[in-house]
């Protein structure tokens, strides 16, 4: 399988990465090189094989459902590029 330029544009949009039109052909070539490399996986017979979900068998640990963390606005906002009154600031989302 290979991707055309419209697909590269769509992937970039989904990935939230702005891509210059001038960069499209090179990105397309690189993505196609990777996709052609992984194509060999098609020759493996995977009938009846379960997809891996956990590399080591591990039961999820339970703990009491209580608050263990939080209430630390100052440290959470410490690295924010823009914040105000204890909130992160973003461009207007809802009109």
């Amino acid at each position: 399988m290979s991707v055309d330029q419209a697909t590269v544009r769509r992937i970039a949009r989904l990935a939230r990465i702005r891509l210059d039109e001038a960069d499209l052909p090179q990105m397309q070539d690189e993505l196609n090189a990777i996709l052609s490399f992984v194509e060999q996986l098609e020759e493996v017979d995977v009938a009846g094989v379960e997809p891996m979900t956990s590399v080591t068998p591990m039961a999820m640990r339970m703990r009491p459902d209580v608050v263990t963390d939080g209430g630390d606005v100052v440290s959470i906002l410490a690295n924010a590029p823009v914040s105000e009154d204890g909130f992160f600031v973003v461009p207007k989302v809802v009109e």
Binding site: I11, R16, I17, E30, P51, S54, V55, I76, N79, V93
Partner: protein, 504 residues
Amino acid sequence: MSDLTDLTLAEARDALKARKLSSTELTQAHVTAVENARALNAYVLETPELALEAAARSDARLARGEGGPLEGLPLGIKDLFCTRGVRTTACSRILGEFKPTYESTVTANLWRDGAVMLGKLNNDEFAMGSSNETSCFGPVVSPWRRRGSNVHAETGEGIVGQHLVPGGSSGGSAAAVAARLCLGATATDTGGSIRQPAAFTGTVGIKPTYGRCSRWGIVAFASSLDQAGPIARTVRDNAILLRSMAGHDPKDTTSADIPVPDFEAAVGRGVKGLKIGIPKEYRLDGIPAEIEALWQRGAEWLRDAGAEIVEVSLPHTKYALPAYYIVAPAEASSNLARYDGVRYGLRVPAKDVIGLYEETRALGFGREVKRRVMIGTYVLSAGYYDAYYVRAQKIRTLIKRDFEQVYASGVDAILTPATPSAAFGIGEKGSADPVEMYLNDVFTVTVNMAGLPGISVPAGLDSQGLPLGLQLIGRAFDEETLFAAGQVIEDAAGRLTMPDAWWT
């Protein structure tokens, strides 16, 4: 003073305990070495004041007859580990001047045991790379040079040869250890990022079993594959460091709740009676004859030390790398979604919030990271998920099953080459085709896919005078056998003489 940086971590530990040496002297010697080695670009942030303060505290503890297992030992920290109040960037522009307000569990464990931080080490951006060339701080220069090369810190007339890569992604860690800019370093390994740079720089590096070290506070790349581990100059030093780094952490649900053995005690255990497997599928076409020969020699060393050598089969080996290039980018695209210009790091203003995300990520991510995020986005997208992602996870099951069958047949560990070549020159690989660079991890990536432990031990020099490593792969949570067998290889090969400091 420069002799102090030549000590192994174990030697320095013993000298400190015996009060023959102070941590302040030891740390100052390393601080000076780091300052004089900026041409290597191994450190992206030096923290000499913090180091000397910590060393003074260690000296006070040692004077009282106290101190942890790593008391007063200066280490370098890969810039993927969050360090409280100390800039942590994953060597990506998108994290900017990010200063964590918390400490990663692994580094917290090191400080608990008394270690001293010299600074933050360079790596490939978000650990995506095999040569440390994708870092936003620029490439790391390996302290190794090809035989006959006289490259040094400055370039100019009459220079023969070129600067080499230290491997990646933990290139800063490996270069710093080889150049004696720290006694040991933290590193991480998602597809080979500890073992490949260790092999390229004549150092020892272990990727422990998935779950052995907590991932909490380590910048995430591919969560089902990422593991932290040490790089140091000897097998023993690795064992000492891993014991402190490892341990259960309730903050990482994939962290294994099992006791951490005294790894150092396993170092001298030998391999008598062990069965070591040689996987026939690792005999790849186009592998240099020197690497074949080295692999053969490694098997003989282990046989001479009393191990039984058997041929084994891992039939799905060739599919590990392509499956990895679906699984790892898929997880990366999801993990890196958090870099949105809102909560931390770089922000490029735009008129709406989608524009803010897109502009921030366009400027903040480097080329390799964008490529992987996009591949990951594609293989997870509607209509392709089953064909790529689910199929790759099924193949991962088969890869793990291969190993399980070999271990079930009584094999204790598997011996392979660590890398398909020695170190290459900066700019030499992967500029036209990204897959050329990916092939570096062909021998190491299977281990991550199966969650197993793997150690890379230097085993000799090639005809260019560059180090080559051998890899030992163990059963899950049996790092001890790797330390025992690794020590046999280290003893047989003889410890490499690290290069003289041409970079100052």
